[in-house]
């Protein structure tokens, strides 16, 4: 089978405006992947499926990965000459900037017809909050139907063009996305508003342990 670099080269020749690059896997598994921009992932997927050399007709695994915002510290060194004639001073200036996070969807593709694989394609959302829409690949490989629903359910990636995008493992009406890195478990999964909720809160406050060092009754 062609290497990811060769596939990437051919894809760029076919779709010159697409954003496609090879993402190296530094580990011993050396399964490198193709990073495809969301605008062209659909046509790239159709090409991979129909191309006679690849014929990746079997989409085995679809999954999401959450990459939260990362704080990166840039250190800039500058040398200031000492006016007294001593050795120049090296000062370090640290600036922090936030690298915006994103949600990533990974597809592992194999070919049943030609018995090779995997070719891994991944695509990323713009951020983790409001621009989380990616094109669905279920019209290309139906195998993605349930798995994309799972990614939508657990990661909150919205797949446009999915025929039946609903939660699949969590229940309808659930608000959060549990596989995100910053997910906080609710105290009580079955919480429902009740008429005496205010009273319960008041009683909790009354019985809360007093802070140490305060006035003793």
């Amino acid at each position: 089978m062609e290497t990811p670099d060769q596939i990437c080269h051919r894809l760029l020749a076919r779709f010159p405006s697409a954003e496609i690059s090879v993402l190296q896997n530094p580990g011993p598994a050396a399964q490198h992947s193709l990073l495809v921009g969301p605008a062209s992932v659909r046509e790239v997927a159709e090409f991979l499926r129909d191309d006679p050399l690849l014929r990746l007709d079997f989409c085995s695994n679809v999954t999401g990965v959450d990459w939260p915002d990362k704080v990166v510290v840039d250190v800039t060194k500058s040398t200031v000459p000492d006016p007294a004639g001593g050795p120049p001073k090296v000062t370090e200036q640290k600036t922090e900037h936030t690298q915006p996070g994103y949600l990533e969807v990974v597809y592992h593709l194999y070919s049943v017809a030609l018995r090779h694989g995997p070719v891994i394609i991944r695509t990323r959302t713009a951020n983790r909050t409001d621009a989380v829409t990616l094109p669905s690949l279920t019209p290309v490989w139906r195998a993605a139907e349930f798995q994309e629903r799972e990614v939508f359910d657990l990661f909150g990636v919205v797949f446009s063009g999915h025929p039946d995008l609903r939660r699949i493992l969590m229940w309808d009406g659930y608000k959060d996305h549990p596989m995100r890195r910053d997910y906080v478990e609710p105290e009580d999964y079955e919480w429902e508003p009740t008429p005496h909720g205010d009273l319960v809160d008041k009683s909790k406050r009354a019985h809360a342990p007093k802070p140490a060092g305060g006035p003793t009754p």
Partner: protein, 390 residues
């Protein structure tokens, strides 16, 4: 935190099935089969819309056993996830362990000694035997052959589970494979017991087939029911006996040749019609092939170490990278996708469960058949909810 209300991410309410009688539709009937129904093999629900007795729509509802296995896997070390993989497909702990071990071995670049590879193959094929024999028993039970075939199947399954217990300490939750090998070595007596079992298993299959395979009721309940076409099966990502019953010769043991399967001589049985009967027969034939694999493995198993000396189980920190490892489990392709960031816990731990993906075609297989057939079709898909819901 409130769990109700609208979110921009999904439509309000998110109702699964439109109420059928919102207009005057005639006499379509919506039946909720499950979550507690003996035919669903666990806690699983099908919302079935019926026209008379014929199914016009079927929507599976999952997630009753969801405990977010993947999130738990990301919070523990690599080794600590191993016993937890037993609980995915709780009939096939051995193959789940192997798929996970394979993926971690690729992630960490570990080698597996030859004896351990042979032991893995022996245990995986024993696991396949007991899974398929269970499936056959359950499927016949679903068609109405009450009791006898299931009891025959379970009698045989129990002898295999006894072997698992004497080797690993547990019948079903084996926790046996390790990255770079296996946990305990098999004694010559144990291998002798396996050999005795394998020699007698063919006779059991003959007896079982004589009992039921040519049965007229079984044939009329399963032949032509739930036909899956080869092209649909490949497109929907179906793997395992379902795919091969549809006539597609795709067996990961042959395609990837993981472990030492390249050394073994065995055939891949294929179905011709893709119906429920083919799915039953493919499993019977796969058991016969597993017997030949087991005979070859028991004949050729070498002596030697069972663990890679470089493997470090506790405090295992693979270099940053990712890996996807998959094997041919008894139910289909079971894969593990791992991302390491260099720490002791995986950054991402993903299970690709075969039963979950195989359920994609449940509605297609059931459309136009009677509600009684849906029970048999679901039985022939062979799901385990521990793995579907994770």
């Amino acid at each position: 935190m409130s769990l109700t209300g609208d979110s921009p991410l999904f439509p309000s309410g998110g109702a699964h099935v439109r109420a059928v009688n919102d207009e005057f539709h005639g006499d379509l009937l919506e039946v909720s089969m499950g979550p507690h129904h003996p035919s669903t093999h666990g806690v699983f629900r099908m919302i079935v819309t019926l026209d008379g007795e014929r199914i016009v729509k079927l929507k599976p509802v999952l997630g009753y056993l969801h405990r977010n296995h993947e999130k738990i896997g990301e919070g523990t070390s690599y080794l600590a996830s191993m016993p937890y993989t037993d609980r995915l497909d709780y009939l096939n702990a051995m193959t789940n362990n192997w798929a996970y071990a394979l993926s971690v071995e690729r992630l960490g670049g570990l080698a597996v000694p030859e004896r351990a590879e042979y032991l893995r193959i022996i245990l995986a094929e024993l696991s396949r035997l007991q899974n398929h024999v269970c499936l056959a028993g359950f499927l016949l039970q679903d068609t109405g052959a009450s009791g006898t075939p299931l009891m025959y199947a379970f009698r045989e399954r129990e002898t295999i589970l006894d072997l698992f217990e004497s080797l690993s300490g547990s019948r079903m939750m084996c926790n046996y494979q390790r990255f770079g090998g296996c946990r305990v070595d098999a004694s010559p007596e144990w291998l002798g017991q396996v050999s005795t079992l394998v020699d007698g298993f063919g006779a059991f299959l003959d007896e079982f087939e004589q009992l039921i395979t040519g049965n007229e009721i079984l044939m009329s309940r399963t032949q032509g029911i739930g036909v899956l076409k080869a092209a649909d099966a490949v497109a929907a990502g179906i793997t395992g006996p379902l795919l091969r019953a549809a006539g597609v010769g795709y067996d990961i043991r042959k395609v990837d040749g993981y472990g030492l399967y390249n050394r073994f001589n065995f055939r891949v049985p294929l179905g011709a019609h893709g119906d429920t009967y083919d799915r039953y027969m493919v499993r019977i034939l796969e058991m016969r092939e597993s017997i030949t694999i087991l005979q070859q493995a028991l004949r050729d198993i070498p002596t030697g170490p069972i663990m890679d000396p470089k493997a470090k189980l506790r405090g295992f920190r693979p270099k940053p990278g990712e890996s996807y490892g998959r094997i041919e489990g008894p139910k289909g392709e079971i894969g593990f996708y791992l991302i390491s960031d260099g720490s002791a816990n995986p950054y991402r731990y993903r299970v690709r469960p075969p039963s979950f993906v195989n359920l994609t075609v449940l509605e297609d297989l059931c459309l136009g058949h009677t509600i009684a057939d849906s029970v048999v079709i679901l039985g022939s898909i062979d799901i385990v909810l521990g793995e579907v819901d994770r």
